[in-house]
């Protein structure tokens, strides 16, 4: 433990997966995820990955075969991005309904159309309501570590849900960083063997995936809802156990659900998901304003209490987000507003939609946002609604030429 190696993000994630020795890996190539499953293919070819590797016809059947294998009691893994995650969506929703743990690495990429292979979070947010745990990673090390933590939470018999370990496409998958890779021994000490509550065992016949009439469906859905909410505590215990064993801490003071950086007593905060937080940290380090950075590590379960605590003394929050729910506003912002409602604390929340489809987010742009957010701190809660959302990178000069006109 403790030895760092220089690895590309996709390769590093593959090594992390290898340390869990999944029984079945099933995957289909898609940019920018492909490096993960290419590396796993090589590991299988070299005899290092001892489980089965299914080279399937589509992401649809990657998810489907993971569901079948998980139902048989196997530890399973797949990886995907964007359109591939969309193609998995139908079976993934059933995986949570059937309470089958699967772990997927998602190299986040925008959804068509227009087609784009570059990074944003529209793919992850499109699966928001599927009953899956969703982790986000700021850097390659966190992406590596989230794989282990995702398995431990997803396979916990009291949770038993699918989990997505998101990492930003290209920004994390295609960058080399010094990382510590857990060995199989270390992972075995951290991640217990899966003990499913039921399997497709011929000696003990079970019917899985029965259909539910109105008198049962509500309860089934509530059970998923309840398990996903309870998973917040399990994540907290898992992050703590991870820190104890590996020495890397991910927001222990906020139950492992949220991390903060910068001045804990600042009036001004900026909030972001994933790799953008690294740039935010650089900006804040040099900025004259005292700023707190708030980084949710998960979007499901939604960390309401942790965010309320993290924003307790904050007067003005800027949400920097790489997604939007067209016709409303960014989901990251609207959910934060919803979380603060009724908390007795009502900071100004301004939303900035940026970094869509790989558009570079510069330090200067973030510094401008910090200035705006700081200026709003003294003006009290904003009275406007949609108007609060800003698209700082929108090029109005080319807008008339787009398909909208």
């Amino acid at each position: 433990m403790g030895e760092q190696v220089m690895l590309k993000g996709d390769r590093a994630v593959a090594h992390s997966v290898l340390s869990t020795q999944p029984d079945v890996v099933s995957a289909y190539p898609i940019t920018p995820q492909t490096g993960i499953v290419e590396k796993l293919s090589q590991m299988k070819a070299d005899g290092d990955l001892r489980g089965e590797y299914l080279k399937v016809d589509s992401e649809f059947n990657a998810a489907s075969s993971c569901i079948g294998a998980s139902a048989a009691g196997a530890r399973v893994f797949s990886a995907t991005s964007s359109q591939g995650l969309k193609l998995m969506s139908e079976p993934l929703f059933t995986a949570s309904g059937m309470r089958l743990p699967l772990v997927l690495a998602v190299a986040n990429r925008s959804l068509s159309g227009p087609l784009s292979i570059w990074n944003d979070h529209t793919d992850a947010f499109a699966e928001r309501d599927g009953g899956m745990i969703q982790f986000f990673a700021e850097d390659v090390q966190e992406a590596v570590d989230n794989v282990l933590m995702a398995y431990r939470v997803a396979e916990d018999p009291d949770i038993s849900l699918p989990a997505l370990a998101n990492l930003d496409g290209y920004i994390l998958t295609h960058v080399k960083e010094p990382v510590e890779i857990p060995t199989e021994e270390e992972t075995n000490a951290f991640l217990p063997k899966r003990e499913p509550h039921a399997t497709l065992d011929p000696k003990n016949p079970k019917t899985m995936g029965a259909f539910a009439r109105p008198e049962h469906w509500t309860e089934t859905r509530y059970a998923v809802h309840d398990a996903l909410r309870r998973s917040a505590d399990v994540i907290g215990e898992t992050v703590e156990a991870f820190a104890d064993q590996f020495g890397r801490e991910y927001g222990l003071e906020y139950g492992g659900l949220v991390q903060t950086y910068g001045d804990e007593d600042a009036d001004v905060a900026i909030l972001g998901l994933g790799s953008i937080v690294g740039t935010m940290r650089d900006v804040v380090a040099d900025h004259p304003t005292s700023v707190k950075i708030v980084k949710p590590r998960v979007i499901r379960p939604y960390p309401v209490e942790a965010l309320r605590e993290a924003l307790a003394g904050v007067e003005s929050v800027g949400v920097l987000t790489k997604e939007v729910s067209p016709g409303h506003q960014s989901t990251l912002a609207s959910e934060l507003k919803s979380a603060m409602y009724g908390s007795g604390h009502n900071p100004t929340i301004q939303s900035y939609v940026l970094g869509l489809a790989g558009r570079d987010v510069t330090k200067a742009e973030i510094a401008d946002i910090v200035d705006e957010v700081a200026a709003a701190a003294s003006s009290g809660p904003s009275k406007t609604f949609v108007g609060e959302e800003d698209w700082p990178q929108l090029d109005r000069d080319i807008l008339p030429n787009e398909v909208t006109n």
């Binding site: 079948g68 294998a69 139902a71 011929p202 016949p205 029965a210 009439r213």
Partner: protein
Amino acid sequence: MSSMEEPAPPEPEISHDDDLFTPGHRACAGCGPALAMRYITETTGENTIISHATGCMEVVSSPYPESSWGVSWIHDVFANAPGVGSGVEAAYRAFDAKEGFEEYENHDDVNFVVIGGDGATFDIGMRSLSGMMERGHDILYIAYDNEAYMNTGIQRSSATPFGAATTTSPPGEESFGNDTNKKNMPAIAAAHGCEYVATASIAYPTDFKKKIETALEHDGPKYIQVSAPCMLGWEFDSAETVNVAKLGVQTGMQPLYEIEHGEVTNVMSLSERKPVDEYLEKQGRFSHLFAKEDGDEVIEEIQAFIDEQAAELGLDQ
């Protein structure tokens, strides 16, 4: 409609001696596919895991918290039963390969079975089935073919025969019903390299069960397509299911054969193939062909299609 013959007594081979697909399910009286399910579990026995596509047989057999299945059984979505089955089979291969994994024993003798209707097989699940066959999973796929989307209310599938009325291929001023011939799925399965492919009919249970047994002797993917009439969608008296299925075989509409290693074998030949009218006139879904002007031309087209198919298979003795 012409006069109906006295229903023949059921085949003596029908047995009711296992509890792996139990009564109490919600299938219609006279359901052909429900007979197919019983013949399947009677043959595969209890050492079986079934992955089942969405469809009539899934819905009637698994209303939570009840189940008709005495074998391990999973349903996920409409299009992915072969993908799910692939994962189950791969998991057991992985368990068996694990050193020192003592709670699992060797699962070589487990029968991995995937079941889908014609819509799940010929249409929406074809990619999933193609992948399962191409990758060589040790799985028996059984398509129960009732020639339309019966579960959603009798819509046309690519297994629907030429001239048949469904709710999405209705006859009308400018329509004689479905305007395409049935997709040749057995040939598609054989082209994937399945060592064993067969067609069967619920009217010939001994033959169907023997084919399941033969299929299970082969490692790798295998495909059986069983003709299973739907009294509701085909519009015939629910006492007539087996007779209609039998007429399907006797007219050459549902030829019974095997394809082993890509070669057609064991064609169940007919000493006196009956004209297709005898099959069509028993079913309301073809009644417009007898009522409509020029309907006889469509019947001739159907007969010509059958004749051609019979010649290719060497169906006539």
